[in-house]
């Protein structure tokens, strides 16, 4: 407990066992965080992102055909301003293309976005990939 008289706060000399338990548990939590981040500091030092895009779903919406995609970043390096380009082919000819920019794809994380096409990509060949990025 803390005794608060006037403006001087004196920590009492006989702490309750709960104070020690809380303190010890807290120290363990901090230690675990230090070990986790420290392990990454030593072992996981990528210098460029590793971006992969996969299609989650294609739906007909009022403004066309909406393709929901997910970008995964398998590296520990975050990518920013990731441009994703989607193309629909009527083999071998390109029918339609759409692009979007995602703000961030953090390391070992994913981001979700969407592209809208006028042509129905279902039943046609579709390619969605990241074509550019910046490092934050």
């Amino acid at each position: 407990m803390t005794k608060n008289t006037g403006h001087a706060n004196i920590e009492t000399n006989e702490p309750h066992w709960i104070e020690w338990t809380t303190g010890t548990l807290s120290a363990l939590v901090i230690l675990a965080v230090l070990i986790w981040i420290g392990r990454d500091a030593l072992m996981d030092r990528d210098t460029s992102p590793d971006l992969g895009v996969s299609v989650l779903q294609v739906e007909a919406r009022s403004n066309g055909f909406q393709v929901l995609f997910e970008i995964q970043n398998r590296s520990s390096q975050t990518a920013s301003q990731v441009t994703v380009r989607g193309e629909v082919f009527e083999e071998p000819k390109l029918v339609e293309a759409a692009e979007t920019v995602t703000d961030y794809v953090p390391g070992h994380s994913k981001a979700v976005g969407g592209l809208i096409f006028k042509t129905d990509p279902r039943g046609r060949a579709i390619s969605i990939r990241a074509i550019s990025f910046n490092l934050p």
Binding site: T2, I10, I37, G38
Partner: protein, 289 residues
């Protein structure tokens, strides 16, 4: 109303001037503490895109927090929980009122917006504003009526339980966290920093937090009782305080959708970054409140 809520004071004792001064102080506190957030673009955007479950959790958690805070430092010295609840609800209402007023005044809330947007924007701002309204009393006034704060002020002359100390730290931490957690800079920093920066920041946060409370001689500084080794306070107060700061940072980041789809290490780095201002807020709260 007064008879039912405050059995010890009768309608005759009720001082309208004092009551209105308390309300004014609450609004002043709400403005002082919430203005930085009211003028942050991300906070307006959160108002309409934020997940409503998370917004609800934030708003509901704010109620017990205000009640306990009211018991500690409210508009006036509360003696019963009923009074604390009454003051908490006044503070919450003042927070909502002040947020709405400022958002309209700065042109963020306009009549052509959907009610969903307007309510969301005011709701998310009302949480920091209500804490500000509650703190308004302890930071902006009270002393004038109580004379010299060092001479027998009943609010100052008391023992703070261990849980009470941790609660104060949580309030201070929450306050600074809410200020910066919605900004994009928090996540951008976590992308720019290497894990080595994060490790250093953890050590620096704990050291600063401890230094603020125990080493630097601010008014309200804490001292150890005679014969207590100095590491006692570190283990009993500073380290738990830092973990609380981390938990509240994590909660704020989750509430504001900053940890969605983010990998464990990145999320941990964001928490560490947000805990840095949080730790200083926690230390400051122990000195001030």
């Amino acid at each position: 109303m007064n008879n039912a809520l405050a059995p010890r004071s009768t309608a005759k004792d009720f001082d309208l001037g004092k009551f209105l001064a308390g309300i004014a102080r609450g609004i002043a506190g709400a403005l002082l503490f919430a203005l930085p957030m009211l003028m942050t673009m991300e906070m307006w955007e959160l108002g309409f895109y934020m997940d409503r479950t998370r917004l609800l959790i934030l708003m509901v958690l704010n109620i017990p927090l205000l009640i306990v805070l009211s018991d500690r430092v409210g508009f006036e010295q509360t003696t019963t929980w009923l009074e604390a609840m009454r003051d908490a609800s006044i503070a919450y209402c003042l927070g909502i009122f002040a947020s709405g007023l400022i958002l309209v005044a700065i042109g963020v809330v306009t009549s052509d917006q959907a009610p969903h947007e307007i309510i969301g924007m005011i709701a998310v701002q009302s949480v920091p504003a209500s804490i500000g309204a509650m703190l308004g009393r302890s930071q902006l006034g009270g002393q004038s009526q109580q004379g010299d704060p060092d001479s027998g002020d009943p609010l100052r002359d008391r023992e703070t339980s261990y849980a009470g100390e941790l609660f104060l730290m949580a309030i201070g931490e929450l306050f600074l966290s809410l200020n910066v957690a919605p900004t994009e800079e928090m996540i951008l920093l976590s992308y720019k920093m290497t894990p080595w920066h994060a490790l250093l920041l953890i050590v620096a946060s704990v050291a600063l937090m401890h230094g603020f409370v125990y080493t630097l001689s601010f008014r309200g500084s804490h001292d150890l009782a005679e014969g207590t080794p100095s590491w006692h306070a570190l283990v009993r107060f500073t380290i738990p305080g830092y973990v609380i700061a981390g938990m509240i940072s994590a909660f704020c980041l989750w509430t504001f959708h900053r940890t969605d789809d983010v990998g464990a290490t990145q999320a941990l780095m964001m928490i560490v970054i947000l805990s840095f201002p949080g730790a200083i807020g926690a230390a400051a709260a122990r000195l001030i409140l």
